[in-house]
Amino acid sequence: MRTIFKTLAIPDQQQLMFGRTPKPLTCGFGLKLGNGQVYPELNFTLPTMRLEETNWGAVVAQYEEIGSIIERAAARLKPPGLMAEFELLPPMTEHPSWGAELTAVLLRHLEHLHQETGIACALRVTPTDIRDVTKPPALRSGKPLELLLESFEQCAAAGAHVLSIESVGGKEVHDEALLYGDIEGVIFALGVLASRDMEFLWEKIVGTCSKHNVVPGGDSACGFANTAMQLAGQGMLPEVLASVVRAASCVRSLVAYECGAFGPSKDCAYEGPVIKAITGAPIAMEGKSASCAHFSPVGNVAAAMCDLWSNESVQNVRLLSGPAPEAYFELLVYDCRLFNQALETKTETMYQNLLVSSDIHLSPQAFVLSPESTMRIATAVVKESGHYAQTLAAAKEATSLLSEGVRHKELQLNSRETEWLERMTRELDALPSDEQEMLATMQERYGHLFADDSYGF
């Protein structure tokens, strides 16, 4: 049964705050999310090393070490709680028992931490979406899907507290559309293809989670909007395009919640604030303290509404201070102390304003992530029916926001960015309100990239 969101769970912008949600949830070893505190989410990965059966012992040893690092660092820094995120690498998803074994290793360390120190903690496990190994991707059948679902099953059985994924349905078209600056193609990929795949996949993920009493923790438009953000960061795409993609991508991620996910959303889902405003679910976000993984123009504003604060991904390598996971965990803990001190002293609004105002005037991508922009995009989404219409509404709202920002001198765009914003505004206005009207055009333009039966056409 689907939940259709027709109103905002957080209708008042003042309530769209870090550390608080109308639907807090408890998971793992007593970790209470959205209940008045922000917690660090440490996301880690292997150093440069082979990942194969012949050196599996060395791989397991790495995760044992990471587990020990988490225990030591948490005992030293005494956070009120923490989420550890284990993102499976593709071979670990291709061999579900590998992901399960590492899940059990990390769980053991977290359980020990909780028993020894009382620190609340939980383990998020994120299998890799390996379904795009073929071109065009076979999303609804075949071995990659079987292995992916088996990965979820085995990681859940091994004790994961939260399950997430960065699913890629629609990416095969979105990548092409993005490179060519084809906003129509972007809306089709996100609003039609990605949304259909999300429905297909999340029904299954929620089923697995229910069976094992695991929290279905949401998806991420990472392969869509973060790809756009990175390409914009390299000067390859206009920032305004990345901004519109960011806004438009919230709808496909929302589908997970329509299917029964209840958060916390994935850290790289920068569309999380819109999800939070609509569903009330707690969200994980990343920003400045994720610079170990990638750079971004939204380092502070991304924190404004988070319930978990993440570093995205850090390799287990040695820095001058010590292991990189420990160094970045410390960074996150200090960030969270500030959030929580602001909440405790009732200065959270002031702190949020600082996070927001320090970024939003410098980049359109930051501008669309402010609480005000979030509320407007979320409102535009719930007013519409159907994922295509919602995606289009989110994109149009983003262009309106940016245009108004420029008019009110809250945002400065150079002439090239301005041209692109005007172009996208025109192109979005020309799009049909009904997805059926665009299907024939999209089939002609992108039909060679996707398989009809992957999307239930």
Partner: protein
């Protein structure tokens, strides 16, 4: 020749219809296809590459120009083949075993095609032996290896080792790229070069092949 300069300019502006029309006009007026290619199309794409490098053009605009070039080549390629004309070089590209990222690789392919090179793209998650077989089949001058993950980048070395074991290493130059890669890593694994992005990849390929333009 003014018409060739116009062709380069239309290409730079991504004006596919004008590029097509002018290409046909030049062919009909007897301008050698190789001249049209070199002094019109490749010259135009060189300006495009420079503008992209300088942040004056975005990728969609570059691809618009590349698309215009591709359209023009549909007219020129049969004529070039008839003359026995060679491309500037054949480049084989692929993402290494275990890796499923391909945007960067695809961009490199597009930019190199725009610079007049022939591209053979063998896809993603490519086993070392498949690279070896493809090198034997296509005899490229350069092999481009792409990886996005620190756990798959070591398969670049595995691939290079497999090429060497097959006795083909001296036949090709190997260029690597991708987020975790670096010149240092390229040196460590015995690659001939590293490129940070698609625009620089064109320069690197020209350098490895001893092209001055």
């Amino acid at each position: 020749m003014k018409e060739l300069q116009d062709l380069a300019r239309f290409l730079e502006q991504g004006e596919s219809q004008k590029v097509l029309a002018l290409t046909q006009q030049l062919v009909d007026s007897g301008v050698p296809p190789q001249t049209i290619l070199n002094d019109g199309l490749i010259a135009g794409m060189a300006v495009v590459g420079e503008k992209m490098r300088n942040g004056e053009m975005y990728l969609p605009e570059v691809l618009q120009s590349a698309g215009a070039m591709k359209a023009s080549l549909r007219i020129l390629q049969p004529l070039l083949a008839r003359e026995g004309a060679q491309s500037r070089g054949k480049i084989l590209i692929g993402t290494v075993k275990g890796d499923m990222h391909d945007i960067g690789k695809n961009l490199v392919g597009i930019m190199l095609q725009g610079a007049g090179f022939e591209i053979v793209d063998i896809g993603l998650n490519v086993e070392p032996q498949k690279f070896v077989a493809a090198i034997a089949e296509h005899t490229p001058a350069i092999v481009g290896l792409s990886a996005m993950l620190t756990t798959t980048m070591l398969n670049m070395k595995t691939t290079i080792d497999a090429v060497a074991a097959a006795g083909l290493r001296s036949n090709v130059k190997i260029l690597i790229g991708g987020a975790p890669a670096s010149q240092k890593f390229a040196d460590e694994i015995g690659a001939d070069g590293y490129s940070r992005d698609a625009v620089l990849a064109v320069d690197k390929v020209k350098q490895l092949l001893g092209h001055t333009s």
